[in-house]
Symmetry: C2
Subunit: 196 residues, 2 copies
């Protein structure tokens, strides 16, 4: 198979750790390669070219940079969901419960009702999809707003966890730019799903 | 005085609340107007045109979008500091203690040592500057790395709090795009410092 730009980058700079941990913190979720983010935005725009999108929704923290740069290809505002109640947020809010696979805790995911309405066609963007709890929370919030999920753009999906399959089973249009089907911490080998 | 693009936007869409709270969540730190972020990036590029910058450093969550979009004018990677220890971060880290004015709590601010070195000339970018504790933590991290602070770009500075003055007293080059010198919750009036 031919690797796309993101799969090539993961193969080159991603680090596989024991316990199915894939570290991409040198370019995706700690240090951020914004030139790569532009390529990702361009690719999502190509894949969602036929879809009406009025707003992009993501979740703090590592989704925000990707969503903002990607939004330059869609020319719509970005809203990021917050993971805990802030004293700067007041008034009516959409709230969903999210359990983090990474941190093993439960967060409230919050979006102000001002920023999502029933007229919105929402593209959800995030950096990672594993068991999909964060994504399920974002879908719940779009649903609470009476808006529609126009599509879901994920950078890296862990294909050996159930999140992506559940979302596809539910009928959502999910475009993951790289789907990791397997990792070997001993050899550093990463196997990507062929999407061609 | 003539207002610049950001002051005009704050005047139009910012909401003044009791207790010197300025809500800019419709365009800056919850819903995000990426077109505005591009203007901010362009303006920082103009103000820091004579400065060598190799990396942009910001802090999660609301600094990330601004920093990523601004970085497109500087063509350097962005690193965001994390506010709590993540199990996905391991190995050597720079750590600073930060007390949040907004949340009244103390966070550890963390950056992996891999992503800042003594060769770096760092532009620090954040959305808000009030008492400056977050910013002091970021400066501490740059210092721990042996890197230099090339400049500091802030979107909205609360000029009636001490953070900005302390940073300027210390000799840092601080460019705040809007400095709020006063707010009146009763009338909604916002007074900006004349920077011309």
């Amino acid at each position: 198979m031919t690797m796309n730009f993101l799969e090539e980058r993961i193969q080159r700079d991603g680090i596989v750790k024991e316990g199915n941990v894939l570290k991409v913190d040198s370019f995706l979720n700690h240090q951020m390669d914004v030139t790569l983010f532009r390529q990702m935005g361009e690719e999502w725009k190509r894949r969602f070219a036929d879809v009406t999108i009025t707003k992009i929704l993501t979740i703090e923290a590592s989704g925000i940079g990707i969503a903002c740069v990607a939004s330059e290809y869609f020319n719509v505002p970005v809203v990021f969901a917050k993971k805990s109640k802030s004293i700067n947020i007041e008034g009516d809010m959409y709230i969903a419960q999210v359990e983090s696979f990474t941190h093993k805790n439960i967060n409230q995911v919050i979006v102000s009702k001002k920023f999502l309405s029933s007229d919105d066609h929402v593209l959800i963007i995030d950096d990672f999809l594993a068991n999909g709890c964060a994504l399920q929370g974002l879908i719940s919030i779009v649903s609470q707003a009476g808006a529609s999920v126009a599509g879901i753009g994920i950078a890296v999906e862990k294909g050996f966890q159930s999140g992506g399959q559940i979302i596809r089973n539910l009928g959502y249009r999910l475009e993951s730019l790289a789907i990791v089907d397997g990792m070997d911490a001993a050899t550093g080998q990463i196997t990507f799903r062929d999407q061609n």
